[in-house]
């Protein structure tokens, strides 16, 4: 097959959307945090925790949606830790974020080893199955790519719509955006900046964890170490690339995933002439490149990473 022909096959786009799904959840999670003014570097660890929590719930006998819920709760809990340290206490968001990633990752690995002390190959669960949407799934290419996915993928797209609607069409969203741009204006409205920011970090972290759970419960069917593999950091880049807008970030995630799916296929076609590591590097290199391209015109939320203390100017 020709290198360009790949782009027009349905299986390619099915893979792209599947790769995009966990990124969409986590990118929306990070976007919410940052719109409220908090950089959440706990993302990588929270995704790891979510991947394990969801998978383990199902492995222990729970059903799939309970698994998703448990993953979200685990993520929310780490989010609460992050928020408590960075919002009312105003500690460095860089240091706390890295700390939360280290803690969530090590706690996950500890729990995994404790729960499954002697396994060599990780046990499998019955993951989410594709659920073709009647009618729509019959469309050429698009039907297979968008409407023959697992329920979690549909949830990812619904999440984007909900996040966009809440952020731009509700008073709550206005308060979240203002907390990241001009917190004293929020306080002047009688709304607690601390409350808004903490809430945003908790909800955002729950979404990141669901993104992690997608990997163990929909894309694959088991949990293994280091499976997040930098996806969290890529999502932080995607938020910047999407200029903190849900729609643009969604587009960025799909573009990125398409590129990722494409490099896998190129890798298979190259027949080993180019070392496979070069292909594996591409997603990370692409993220850096994307950051450089948009950096000049990036408009960060003005109060991002600036702790807020009531009555202080």
């Amino acid at each position: 097959m020709d290198a360009l022909e790949i782009l027009f096959t349905a299986s390619f786009w099915v893979a792209a959307i599947r790769i995009a799904s966990p990124l969409i959840f986590a990118t929306m999670g990070e976007l919410i945090c940052e719109r409220a003014g908090v950089l959440n570097l706990g993302i990588e660890g929270i995704m790891t925790a979510g991947a394990f929590a969801g998978w383990f719930t199902v492995y222990a006998g729970g059903d799939l949606w309970t698994g998703v819920l448990v993953a979200a709760l685990a993520g929310g809990l780490f989010g609460l830790l992050h928020a408590t340290l960075t919002v009312p206490l105003g500690l460095s968001q860089h240091v706390v974020g890295i700390g939360v990633t280290l803690l969530a990752t090590s706690l996950t690995y500890f729990t995994y080893r404790l729960a499954l002390p002697e396994v060599t190959s990780p046990p499998k669960i019955e993951p989410f199955q594709p659920l073709p949407i009647p009618g729509l799934s019959k469309l050429p290419v698009l039907g297979e790519a968008l409407f023959s996915q697992t329920p979690l993928t549909y949830l990812a797209f619904v999440t984007v719509a909900v996040v966009a609607w809440v952020l731009y069409r509700t008073p709550l969203g206005l308060a979240v955006r203002a907390a990241g741009e001009n917190p004293s204006a929020v306080e002047a409205q009688g709304i607690s900046v601390t409350g808004i920011r903490m809430g945003a970090v908790v909800v955002g972290s729950a979404l990141m964890a669901v993104g992690g759970a997608f990997l163990t419960m929909s894309a694959f069917n088991s949990f293994f170490f280091e499976m997040i593999n930098g996806r969290g950091w890529i999502c932080i880049a995607l938020v910047v690339f999407g200029s903190w807008r849900p729609g643009k970030a969604l587009l960025g995630a799909i573009l990125f995933a398409a590129f990722d799916a494409y490099q896998v296929r190129l890798q298979q076609m190259s027949g080993g002439i180019v070392p496979y590591q070069v292909f594996l590097m591409m997603p990370y290199a692409l993220s850096i490149l994307a950051l450089i391209l948009v950096a000049r015109r990036a408009t960060y939320p003005k109060a991002l990473m600036i702790p807020y203390q009531k009555g202080e100017r």
């Binding site: 570097l41 830790l81 340290l85 009312p88 206490l89 105003g90 500690l91 460095s92 860089h94 240091v95 706390v96 890295i98 700390g99 939360v100 280290l102 803690l103 990752t105 090590s106 706690l107 690995y109 500890f110 080893r113 404790l114 002390p117 593999n229 930098g230 950091w233 890529i234 932080i236 880049a237 910047v240 070392p275 590591q277 070069v278 594996l280 590097m281 990370y284 290199a285 993220s287 850096i288 950051l291 450089i292 950096a295 000049r296 990036a298 203390q309 009531k310 009555g311």
Partner: protein
């Protein structure tokens, strides 16, 4: 609630909160030990014994502390200037690459010349690797946290490519590993028969040098000023961007020395498991030391002790050795809270 600065805290208060932080860390990890069905007291005893209970244990802890001192210094230097270098892991591996490129026979020089040459090359390579993100930060405003984090993955893949390609040891039975460095490129052991090597001495010397740079030189003053208040620093005529470049070169160079010291002093060759996350642990080491270069020595030994002790403990008790990573991560979070509470009073109302 709000935070109010405290008047100069007394020695008692300054010590009270860090001690409370360690107590909180132990309390939290006790719960995990209980969950594992073991007794916290005996587990902590086993960790302490495994870290410092014998001459062998002590030497093992100091050996493990060596790369952590380097990465801890790298982070301490960078964070002081608010250059968020989370890429010490990548810089470490580049240090390892340069060490085997120059040390496996390419330069037939005697040890007293070869080792300094390798050290300079290693530091240069590590420094340049961090210079990239630093330039992207100052020229384009790209956040260096994300770029340094992403570079960790790129560099590890790059090393993997080299180890399966040009640097692959032909006698390595197919394993992705480099050749051993020649005798003249090896750092000798401090005591015959022990694993502790002169990399530890270089680490201590580096800490002292970095301390002098930070406290006694103009560059150190400028770095602290830039970290404290970049706008103010620019206003008084400090070339902020140039200071950040120098910080990047120093920080990246220090982290790369960790790779050099592990290859040249301990492992002999480069493999993909050269570092079990020393770059990330370096962040904890630096924070526990409150970014003080001399404090880094103590906190690196402390963190290394936890890892070495937990390894020994997990061989006896049925508690996964990942408890060490949990302890280290928890101590980072409790310590930053403790430092805050020594300086500020929390007012509820």
């Amino acid at each position: 609630m709000r935070l109010e600065p405290k008047p100069a805290p007394s020695i008692g208060v300054t010590l009270l909160f860090p001690v409370a932080a360690i107590a909180a860390t132990l309390l939290f990890t006790s719960l995990l030990v209980l969950a594992a069905g073991a007794s916290p007291l005996s587990v902590f005893y086993l960790v302490a014994k495994g870290a410092a209970g014998s001459q062998f244990a002590l030497f093992e802890t100091l050996t493990r502390a060596t790369p952590l001192i380097f990465t801890g210094l790298a982070v301490a230097v960078a964070f002081r200037a608010k250059l968020w270098n989370i890429g010490a892991e990548a810089q470490l591996y580049i240090g390892g690459v340069v060490t085997v490129v120059l040390g496996t026979g390419a330069l037939p020089l005697p040890a007293p010349i070869l080792i300094p040459v390798i050290i300079i090359a290693v530091m240069l390579a590590g420094g340049l690797l961090l210079l990239g993100p630093a330039v992207l930060k100052t020229r384009f405003g790209v956040d260096e946290v994300v770029t340094t984090l992403l570079l960790n993955f790129i560099v590890l893949l790059f090393v993997s490519m080299l180890l399966e390609g040009v640097l692959k040891d032909p006698m390595g039975l197919g394993w992705p590993q480099s050749q051993k460095v020649i005798a003249d490129a090896q750092l000798p052991r401090i005591i015959q028969g022990k694993r502790l090597h002169y990399g530890f001495v270089i680490a201590i010397v580096s800490a002292i040098v970095v301390w002098v740079i930070m406290k006694k030189t103009v560059l150190g003053y400028e770095m602290r000023a830039v970290g404290h208040n970049p706008e103010g620093a620019r206003f008084v005529g400090i070339p902020v961007n140039r200071v950040l470049m120098k910080t990047a070169l120093l920080s990246g160079g220090l982290a790369a020395l960790a790779g050099f010291s592990e290859v040249s002093g301990l492992k002999g060759n480069l493999t993909l498991d050269l570092s079990p996350g020393y770059g990330y642990s370096g962040i904890v080491v630096a924070m526990l030391a409150m970014l003080n270069p001399l404090g880094v020595i103590a906190s690196a030994i402390f963190v290394a002790g936890i890892f070495v002790g937990a390894d020994a403990m997990s061989r006896v008790a049925k508690v996964p050795s990942y408890i060490a990573d949990v302890m280290v991560a928890t101590s980072l979070l409790t310590m930053v809270v403790a430092i805050l509470l020594t300086r500020f009073r929390v007012r509820w109302r």
